[in-house]
């Protein structure tokens, strides 16, 4: 992967300004009022324009629910999700907030070519020819051969599928991208390439990004801010360097202590 350094092409293709994503008192409850389960409990979180916020937590902590609520896949029980000060549109074809899913094996329709999957996310307007050119541009952006747009996902590896998923998210010309555990289903050797790509795209396009992961080392590498979530509540939040070097909350400390490789390796007997 090439070094993510600002280049002459760093201007966004459409020149749309990036926006701030703000969760205000967001609550998501499932089930009835009495016997329900609160997956996200009055969470407030801001993703500043052009920044990457890492959201860390264990399974069941509500981090994926928060992401799904933002794009309208989970119903809000309370609170608001604002994009640049206005509610995130969850209807209609223009979706300035896009999401990349965890499992690249189930996030692409096995019966559709990757070109069609990407083209589907392009808002209506451009002609067939323009769409094809846009698909080619997006594939190139994620370092895939544009000539392969007619291939079905069954022929691609996990890493390549995840790149297609990234291209599809970018096809919607988003201001903010939510990446939900996008490397946890990938082999370590491929994870690096996808992380490099995420950093490169984020810097080149100036995207705001909510990067969800359970892996602190990965979040540390990608995000400038970190929020730690547990049982539906954000327990700690701040600049990545500060949170990871000087955690204030016990749970953050426990998470940091559990990162493999942080304890001294065993010596050979």
């Amino acid at each position: 992967m090439s070094t993510p350094r600002p280049t002459s092409q760093s201007a966004r293709p459409t020149g749309r300004p990036t926006a701030e994503l703000r969760f205000e008192d967001v609550t998501v409850r499932y089930g009835s009022a009495r016997r329900g389960h609160t997956a996200v409990d009055r969470v407030s979180l801001t993703v500043p324009p052009g920044q990457v916020v890492g959201l860390v937590g264990e399974s069941g902590s509500g981090k994926s629910t928060l992401a799904r609520a933002a794009v309208g896949l989970a119903p809000l029980t309370g609170g608001r999700v604002l994009l640049g000060g206005a509610p995130v549109p969850t209807r209609g074809r223009r979706r300035p907030l896009q999401m990349v899913f965890q499992d690249p094996y189930s996030s692409l329709d096995p019966r559709m070519t990757i070109g069609d999957s990407i083209a589907e996310a392009i808002p209506p307007g451009p002609s067939r020819e323009e769409r094809r050119a846009e698909v080619a541009r997006l594939l190139e952006l994620v370092h895939l051969d544009p000539d392969r747009a007619a291939v079905r996902p069954g022929l691609l590896s996990g890493g390549q599928r995840q790149r297609v998923a990234l291209a599809r998210a970018l096809a919607g010309d988003p201001q903010v991208v939510i990446a939900d555990e996008i490397t946890s289903a990938l082999d370590v050797s491929i994870q690096g390439a996808v992380l490099n790509l995420v950093r490169e795209l984020q810097r080149e396009l100036g995207l705001s990004m909510l990067f969800i992961s359970h892996n602190l080392a990965v979040v540390r590498y990608v995000a400038s801010h970190v929020a730690v979530m547990r049982d539906g509540v954000i327990v700690e939040e701040g600049p990545a360097a500060r949170v990871l070097a000087d955690p204030h909350h016990d749970y953050t400390r426990a998470l940091l202590a559990a990162v493999p490789g942080t304890r001294t390796p065993r010596r050979t007997p």
């Binding site: 998923a165 050797s189 998470l255």
Partner: protein
């Protein structure tokens, strides 16, 4: 790699015809349809010819099945009736499908509240027997062919709607539907583009079987006099006419009865064989992890020079020499494990790392005799505690493996029987292998659960697997392995499905068990950092071979194989330089079916030269006897030309992912 779900549809359909049953059913189906098409054109005149001199006659050379009360030939009438019978049945099925699709997809299109209403009404309708509904509607729509078609169509709709609803719900939960909706694709479009194509196959199967049912229902309605009315006639009507003359001419009822039978059989058999053909293809086949079926047909046994006594400090707990695992593939056998040799000493922790498809899990399964047919395991030596695992009775082997070897799998949920209490499942091991009484075995189970730090072990032993959290289930799985007195624990990605904090607890537990009882551990993981932290020694696997065998402490700085070094560098840790891009292993792993000549890693290796591409390096000692590397350029510095620039566009290499 995740099992491949997509296959060429045409190939699947071809598979339907390939079985004898499928071919027969297809032929029968084609005959019935052909008959429905051509019979009225050919034989209408004969069927309608009135012969008053020959009324209600029995079978004769002229009229094979006799004649009816107007002297018309019953055989010809039965043949000509095929068009009306099949046509009406297909129309009714079409009505059922269209209504079923509308009702079944309505919940997705209408939103939650209205959708629930539709689902509830469908559920109620499903509760009524189909024939009862048909009779009810037949009364409403009036006697006659049109009324019967509507009645049978509408009566068939609820069950079809239920099926569609279930299938739609299954596909709608997939991420690609969520992705399309998040991208702003409308509901109708999502339904047409993503959902319906992905549920079409089961729908077609059920429609075919449904058509058979409609055919029989129609014959039934006509037979009752509620369906087709004279002068029109279908099979049911002919049956109705024939029954009256049953004692005079049994053939008059038998002929239409036989045609109904054959046509019904054609539809149902065809539907079943389509279902079978498609079903087989969608399941795919991967070696299961259950049931120890010995599939060994090893090369001529090489006797170990000195029979090793179990418990001898010098003898390895596990000794594997030249282990091969092969599966039959489309183009000859595929060998995911190619000549692996290693030994595990008493109390030693050996990590096995590699990417998916490197053969690390299959190596473990081969050792524990869990490779199922058609997989084959061959080895020059395969010894656990000095006992040869390739020979000996299955019973003795099971005894040895059951007591001396503990396996821990990635997903503890599927490793337990969900309908039985934990304590009983653990106790079963001791009763099977150690011949303990029920009470003693249960006592030991509680003791073992406590040993793996499950709080309130006695109460927990009475609970079911779903009442345990993921980490606790994994600990219980380890506890199950400890029911015997294992000398070796093989843990295959034991923490991959767990959260980091829980992962740490499980790793700590494994460590504690090792230290307490001097148990050896083989830890298989894709995570180099986990292995480096827990193990003494690390085996790095690539394309079915061990490419490096080194001390875990040397992993970070002393690795000699370029692949090991790349693997270590590719994983970000808490000290990774944030300014630099992560090191990347270029290219992709080698699939088991397409191992190239020479070193399998050559295509991705920065040090590769012509020799690497021609000659496969063997695992050989490097610097110290304990450090083994399979590389022609072991330890050579990797050329640094800044951060390695990849080709700007990574061409999409095509892989056949259908490999077994």
């Amino acid at each position: 790699m995740a099992a491949q779900r997509t296959r060429q549809p045409t190939r699947r359909w071809r598979q339907v015809v390939r079985t004898p049953l499928g071919a027969g059913a297809s032929l029968l189906m084609a005959l019935v349809l052909l008959l429905a098409l051509v019979a009225p054109m050919l034989w209408t005149d004969q069927a309608d010819a009135v012969d008053t001199g020959n009324i209600l006659a029995g079978p004769s050379a002229e009229h094979w099945a006799g004649t009816d009360n107007l002297g018309r030939d019953i055989l010809f009438r039965s043949l000509v009736a095929a068009r009306l019978s099949v046509g009406l049945a297909l129309t009714a099925t079409a009505i059922a499908i269209v209504l079923g699709l509308l009702l079944g997809t309505a919940p997705m299109l209408l939103g939650r509240r209205l959708g629930r209403l539709v689902t509830a009404s469908v559920d109620i309708a499903v509760a009524f027997p189909g024939l009862l509904l048909a009779l009810f509607f037949a009364v409403i729509f009036g006697v006659g062919a049109r009324g019967a078609v509507l009645a049978i169509g509408i009566a068939g709709a609820p069950s079809f709607a239920r099926l569609v609803h279930t299938l739609v719900a299954g596909v709608a939960a997939r991420d690609y539907v969520a992705a399309a909706r998040a991208a702003g694709v409308g509901r109708v479009r999502v339904l047409l583009r993503h959902v319906l194509p992905n549920i079409s196959e089961p729908l077609i199967v059920n429609a075919t079987i449904g058509a058979g049912g409609a055919l029989l229902s129609f014959a039934g309605l006509s037979f009752l006099g509620l369906g087709v009315q004279a002068p029109q006639y279908d099979w049911g009507r002919l049956l109705f006419d024939g029954i009256g003359a049953l004692y005079v001419n049994p053939a008059a009822a038998l002929a239409p009865g036989l045609t109904v039978l054959l046509a019904g059989l054609a539809f149902n058999l065809f539907g079943e064989s389509v279902a079978k053909g498609l079903g087989v293809a969608t399941l795919g086949h991967l070696p299961e992890r259950r049931s120890a079926g010995p599939a060994t047909s090893g090369p001529p046994t090489i006797r170990a020079e000195e029979p090793v006594v179990a418990g001898d400090d010098e003898a390895p707990v596990l000794d594997v020499r030249d282990l091969w695992v092969s599966f039959p593939g489309a183009d000859g056998p595929v060998q995911p494990v190619r000549g692996v040799s290693f030994a595990v000493r008493r109390g030693e922790a050996v990590g096995v790392v590699g990417e998916s498809g490197s053969g690390k899990s299959l190596t473990a399964l081969a050792v524990s005799r869990l490779i199922e047919e058609p997989g084959r395991v061959e080895a020059a030596r395969l010894q656990l505690l000095g006992a040869d695992l390739r020979t000996g009775s299955e019973r003795a082997q099971r005894q040895l493996l059951g007591t001396s070897l503990a396996m821990v799998f990635q997903d503890p949920m599927t490793s337990f029987n969900p309908t039985r209490r934990m304590g009983g499942q653990l106790a079963e091991v001791a009763r099977q292998h150690q011949g303990m009484t029920r009470r003693d075995a249960f006592g030991r189970a509680v003791d073992r659960l406590a040993a793996v730090r499950i709080p309130e072990a006695r109460r927990r032993a009475g609970q079911y697997p779903h009442e345990f959290s993921g980490g606790m289930r994994q600990r219980a799985m380890i506890g199950m392995g400890l029911m015997g007195s294992p000398a070796l624990i093989i843990a295959d990605e034991p923490t991959t499905a767990l959260d980091v904090t829980v992962q740490q607890q499980v790793l700590d537990l494994l460590q504690a068990i090792r230290e307490a009882d001097d148990v050896a551990l083989v830890l298989i993981s894709h995570d180099v950092t986990v292995v480096g932290e827990v193990c003494d020694r690390v085996l790095v696997m690539y394309a079915g071979r061990i490419v490096e065998d080194l001390a875990a402490a040397d992993l970070a700085t002393g690795a000699a194989h370029p692949y090991t070094r790349a693997l270590v560098a590719a994983v970000p840790d808490m000290e990774t330089d944030l300014e630099q891009p992560l090191a990347v292993v270029p290219g992709r792993p080698v699939a088991p079916g397409e191992v190239p000549a020479g070193c399998a890693y050559a295509a991705r290796c920065p040090l590769a030269d012509d020799r690497c591409r021609a000659e496969d390096p063997q695992l050989a000692s490097f610097e110290t006897p304990d450090h083994r590397v399979a590389c022609w350029h072991a330890g050579e510095p990797i050329p640094v030309d800044g951060p390695r620039e990849p080709a700007p566009v990574d061409p999409v290499e095509l892989v056949e992912v259908d490999a077994p």
